[in-house]
Amino acid sequence: MATGIRDKVAIIGMGCTRFGERWDVGAEELMVEAFSECMEDAGVGKDDIEAAWLGTCLEETNVGKSALPLSTTLRLPFIPVTRTENFCASGTEAFRGAVYAVASGAYDVALALGVEKLKDSGYGGLPNPGSNWGSLSWLWWPNVTAPGAFAQLASAYAAKYNIPDQDLKRAMAHVSSKSHANGLLNPKAHLRKEISDEQVMASPIIAHPLGLFDCCGVSDGSACAIVTTVEKALSMGKKDFITVKALQLALSSGEEMGYNQWDGDHFMTTDKCSTRAYEEAGIKNPREEISMMELHDCFSITELVTYEDLHISQRGEAVQDVMDGFYDREGGGVPCQVDGGLKCFGHPIGASGLRMLYEMYLQFHGRAGERQIEDPRFGLTHNLGGVPFMNVCSISIVGRYEN
């Protein structure tokens, strides 16, 4: 009988680069920057690492295929290294690989590192794969971009809950302005500027109704974690470390695209993935028990509907919760994107999942500076890769080891 991952694995060190348009460095330098901080933080040497996982997505414009970019860059001494690619969950997948590896007892200490160098494409936004997307998809898929795919959530959500377009647009704007207020306080964030709801609403349209400020940035970055078993952490003399409470993944079954039950207004994957994660972590009432969240806010509307799929907001009530400031850092609810989110960090795909965990790590260790949340209990991170009608959702829940 499977017992889940709860409290089996400890995170003993993490590192994260400054995210942004890092014109002066490539993926290799970013990996070393994150890894150096992580190693020092964990107090382990490179030789203590027995296996590693590399999360990276767009190898075409990035490091290339395989896990060799990690093993050769970090000069890892002929140990097993694996590359994971699962869209925006790639970083969390690397973490999942490392966590499961130590939980299985195969290794004592493992490394998970995510990296993405996006700013070598010559233009903003993600690369356009054209016919490389897939030999059949290319022949019939519409002319979709990421913002265009996610923007449709807004039209479907407004129609389903009978919400005037303008009301939804304002709530979406607040999702972004709230994250910017947090990002302002984070020296590692890419965008550090306060913006008002009005500015978001007036920003130029990218994909109706998403304006520029409804979209996350595009940046370079890397983040990593060193994990071990709880026993090993204790034997190393670690105190107040944090453990993994839940690691869940859910992928579309094709129903969203092909079967007329989904209304296009939310994520079926996240709905199911979060339910399983709460069960694994032993959480009964997430609205009360989750202390902070890092959601996959690739677009404001993604974050807004995700509140409901995470069962924090009731169906149809996310707009009201947002406008009530429930997700603001000091709104008295569940602070969301405390570090600034994808909105302010940008989204170097392979790095994002681990970047989110990094904020949780800082918060639990009381190292989040001005952003510090008082006495957090459970922290949740969420990644959503693909498009609303076909996607990969990953959810991690972490918290202090209490025993």
Binding site: S121, G122, Y123, G125, N128, P129, G130, S131, N132, S135, L136, W138, L139, W140, W141, P142, N143, V144, T145, P147, G148, A149, A151, Q152, L153, A154, S155, A156, A158, A159, N162, I163, P164, D165, D167, A202, P204, I205, I206, A207, H208, P209, L210, S253, G254, E255, M257, G258, Y259, N260, D263, G264, D265, E317, Q320, M323, D324, G325, G332, F389
Partner: protein, 911 residues
């Protein structure tokens, strides 16, 4: 009987106003104005001869069993492939049988009529029974050429057969010559034309009559036996002359559609013939002639069967479904006649795998998906395992054609990031009524006209072009059907779901209406009423509150009654406890309970005074305090006080009431400060009700409006989370609302600040002390001290007068000369034409020259730049509420002419 069984037409929706060609290119080719009448049709950027052929053929096969078709010929001089059978593509798109013959007939404008003759003869031979002949042309010409004016794009389709014909084939006569009026080499994009006079005199005028006369002789008929004579000829005068020469009167001749769509090449004899058949009566004789390197003439006689043809779009419907375009450069871009920068993003690879195209030909060209034999779920694409999660059967899919199934929009966007010839790229999820869905590109629509729930048709379009390899990929797109969108939600109506409200004095009148409306909008309501008589005396009968609760429950709402008095602290607490016990919290409190004890002060005994104070002022304290404590716990609250005009302005015989009511304003002013950080907003309403105050002043029809319903919306707005204002007092009644505020005059400082001012100083400066000019409304007491402290320093110049309020389009133009920045205008010589639509709109032009600005109402012949906008949007733009760039990208602001010059407007005018 052999002949035409059915027809179908397709003219692209887009029509170019020919004058727009002249407007742009008249400087270069002034003579083109001679043929610049009306409109010409042109393909959308994703259409070509092949897509038009598919659409015309689908129209033709309306109501026909497609499995009966045993041949298809596609006639066109502009097919997208030189070596790949386009008719085989049409056949696949139409899901026709595999064991049929197909062929492309091309290289002459008469290829359509020649194929008709050949196909009819093949049917006569008995080898085949039903042959579909489709003619289509997308005619290309270089910019600013007569032929660009003359040409149009379109397609027509005819099903020929030997049963159920609507027009019997009577015979044909053909002549063939190498008469080269124009030609196009295999490797050239455009026609090379010889002198028009020769083409007219030696070509059209000789060869068409020769073929028609030959036909008449062969059939032993004359023009007198013909009801309708159809032949294309884009020379308008020549068209008439040839007809006349052959003895046809003007009413026998079918118009050449120059004004409606232009000359559609090989398709044009079909387009004109179909138009004739649409009007024909049984027994009519129709003669059609097609010209090009010779001429074919055919004669048909319409049968009774024509009445049984199911209705269809045809040419008539195609011509009616149009969007006129005045933007010539858009036309040029759509036809790839101008090169635009498409950006690095457009450099993506575009190769097509022929193996995939072959395996998935039915899916891609025919929009064929699957239907599960086990559970009956239609699905797209067809895959090996059923998509229905409750079924999941393996290998049960049967072919299912989606192209004619009715569908509607589930979600959509207008994408400005996607590489597109016509941004924004509009696409979204479409769902079929009987099951199945897919994510589709939309076409032939504007983003503003698209909504969730709207119905769509499916259309065969070009999906991509691989220029490197000279390949075009085709798939199906959704065309939103105008007028089928469900009504859009403008306002949802503010809701109170999950909120708990207390309304005191809710047994009747205003309080009752507040309670009912709150409940209707989802709030759980504590209906408090002592149930006493009007003056508050006597034992509470519990009935008024109960009745209102009952009413709410009957309407499906939630409510509990409370009978406690607001006049005591215990009563107040009990009311709040009722809410906590029943619903666990309080979000909204409306202090509405009140009584009257009207007396002049002379007759006002202490008990009259105290009773009113107890209910209104102390009563508000008694309920508000316990409620406030609960709201603070939840960090949310909305508190409403009820004041009165009697207190605000004074009313004879109500000193007690006036004092209590105005006391509440003071209460609010401070409570708003204490509640602010907990999101507790406090506001006050002064309802205008039928009282002695209004009696005799108001006409009876207005008295009718002195009902609670005319006050309630404002009070409910104060109760909503949408209302973020606090500390406001509003008059509300009869549907009229205005704000009441305590204003503080600018005042004056006397005595220089060191010396105490004298009594005489006060007298002397009385006007300066009491003036309200420039009076201010202060948010709190501290703020009011500021001006006092600043009084000895000269005040900063007052900010510009408010321009935002009450601004109209007319006022903007009246004020334009004042907003003009002459210093920015040196060397500027422009005319801006403003065409502002809507009730408040109009047309103005503004001429700026020699540093002067002249604003004139009315149009201008040759404006540098024309600005088109709706009146509301324009006012918002000028008042800064709307960003010019976003107005432009969203299409609210349209700029024609010199776009660059339009950017001067921002510099030239300061509002």
């Amino acid at each position: 009987m052999i002949g035409i069984k059915s027809y179908g037409g397709y003219i692209p929706r887009l029509r170019l106003n020919r004058m727009s060609i002249y407007q742009s290119m008249g400087w270069f080719a002034p003579a083109i104005v001679l043929v610049a009448q009306g409109e010409r049709s042109f393909c959308n950027w994703d259409e070509d001869s092949l897509t038009m052929a598919v659409e015309a053929s689908r129209d033709c096969l309306e109501g026909i069993d497609r499995s009966l078709v045993d041949g298809h010929y596609l006639c066109s001089t502009t097919l997208p492939f030189s070596d790949r059978s386009c008719s085989a593509m049409v056949k696949t798109a139409l899901n026709l049988r595999d064991d049929i013959i197909t062929g492309d007939v091309t290289t002459s404008l008469k290829c359509g009529t020649s194929t008709l003759v050949t196909a009819l003869e093949a049917i006569k031979g008995g080898e085949r029974h039903n042959i579909l002949v489709t003619a289509s042309d997308k005619r290309e010409a270089r910019a600013a050429y007569f032929y660009e004016m003359w040409f149009g794009d379109g397609a027509g389709s005819l099903l020929l057969g030997d049963t159920d014909v609507i027009a019997e084939f009577k015979g044909s006569y053909s002549v063939s010559y190498d008469f080269v009026d124009h030609y196009r080499g295999s490797n050239n994009d455009y026609d090379y034309m010889w002198e028009e006079r020769w083409v007219r005199d030696e070509g059209y005028s000789r060869i068409i009559p020769e073929a028609v006369t030959g036909l008449f002789n062969k059939l032993s008929i004359s023009m007198d036996d013909v009801d309708t004579f159809v032949f294309p000829c884009f020379f308008k005068a020549e068209h008439r002359k040839i007809a006349k020469k052959l003895g046809a009167s003007p009413d026998q001749v079918v118009d050449n559609f120059h004004e409606a769509c232009g000359e559609t090449g090989a398709a044009h004899p079909f387009v004109m013939l179909i138009s004739a058949l649409e009007k024909a009566k049984p027994g009519d004789r129709v003669v059609v002639a097609g010209f090009g390197q010779g001429c074919d003439a055919l004669c048909f006689q319409v049968t009774d069967q024509v009445a049984n043809l199911p209705s269809r779009r045809g040419i008539k419907g195609s011509l009616a479904n149009k969007k006129t375009e005045d933007n010539y450069t858009k036309f040029l871009k759509f036809r790839d006649l101008i090169k635009t920068e498409m950006g690095i993003r457009a450099e993506a690879p575009t190769q097509t795998a022929m193996t995939v195209l072959w395996r998935k030909r039915k899916m891609l060209l025919g929009l064929v998906g699957g239907k599960c034999a086990e559970c009956g779920t239609p699905q797209f694409p067809k895959m090996d395992i059923c998509v229905n999660p409750d079924c999941g059967a393996f290998h049960t899919q049967e072919d299912y054609a989606f192209q004619d199934e009715s569908a509607f929009i589930k979600s959509f966007t207008g994408d400005l990031l996607a590489v597109s010839v016509d941004p924004p790229a509009v696409y979204g999820m479409i769902q079929f009524e009987k099951g199945g869905r897919f994510m589709a590109d939309f076409t032939d629509c504007a983003l503003d006209d698209v909504s969730v729930g709207q119905k769509v048709n499916l259309a065969f379009r070009r999906r991509y072009e691989d220029r490197e390899r000279g390949f075009s990929g085709y798939f199906w797109k959704a065309v939103p059907i105008p007028g089928t969108a469900p009504e859009k939600v403008e306002t949802q109506g503010i809701r109170f779901d999950g909120k708990v409200a207390i309304v005191t004095g809710a047994g009747g009148g205003l309080g009752r209406d507040y309670a009912l409306e709150l409940a209707k909008r989802g709030a759980k309501v504590v209906v408090n009423d002592l149930g006493g008589a009007q003056d508050g005396s006597g034992e509470g009968a519990n009935t008024p509150a109960d009745r209102v609760v009952e009413e709410i429950l009957e309407g499906g709402g939630e409510a509990v009654a409370s009978y406690d008095s607001v006049a005591t602290a215990e009563g107040g607490k009990a009311i709040v406890d009722t809410a906590i016990d029943a619903y666990g919290k309080v979000d909204i409190l409306i202090n509405n309970a009140g009584i009257l004890r009207d007396k002049t002060l002379a007759k006002m005994e202490p008990e009259n005074w105290d009773a009113v104070m107890d209910v209104h002022l102390k009563g508000a304290y008694n309920v508000t305090r316990p409620a406030f404590l609960k709201m603070r716990e939840n960090r949310y609250g909305r508190i409403i006080f009820t004041t009165s005009a009697a207190g605000i302005y004074g009313n004879f015989g109500q000193t007690n009431y006036s004092a209590a009511k105005t006391g509440l304003i003071g209460f609010m002013n401070t409570l708003k400060l204490e509640g602010e950080k907990h999101d507790i907003r406090v506001n006050t309403v002064a309802p205008v009700a039928a009282t002695r105050l209004t009696e005799g002043i108001l006409p009876p029809d207005l008295m009718e409006k002195l009902k609670p319903e005319f006050v309630t919306p404002l009070v409910l707005y104060f109760c909503s989370h949408q209302c973020k204002d606090t500390g406001f007092t509003m008059n509300a009644g009869m549907g009229f609302f205005n704000r009441v505020a305590i204003l503080t005059g600018p005042g004056t400082a006397l005595g220089g600040g060191n010396e105490p001012p004298t009594l005489d100083d006060i007298h002397k400066h009385w006007d300066a002390i009491n003036t309200l000019e420039g009076a201010e409304d202060f948010p709190n007491a501290t703020a009011s001290i500021g001006p006092m402290l600043d009084a000895f320093n000269p005040k900063k110049e007052a900010a510009n007068a408010d321009t935002g309020s009450g601004l109209t389009v007319k006022k903007i133009f009246d004020g334009l000369p004042n907003a003009f920045q002459a210093d920015q205008a040196s060397g500027v010589d422009v005319v801006f034409l403003f065409n502002i639509s809507g009730d408040g709109g109009g047309i103005w032009h503004v001429h700026i020259q020699n540093g002067e600005c002249l604003v004139t109402e009315g149009t201008h012949e040759s404006p540098t730049t024309t600005i088109k906008m709706g009146d509301e949007g324009f006012v918002k733009l000028i008042s800064g509420e709307l960003n010019a760039m976003s107005a432009f990208t969203s299409g609210k602001l349209q700029i024609e002419g010199d776009l660059m010059k339009s950017q001067l407007i921002e510099k030239l005018f300061k509002f």
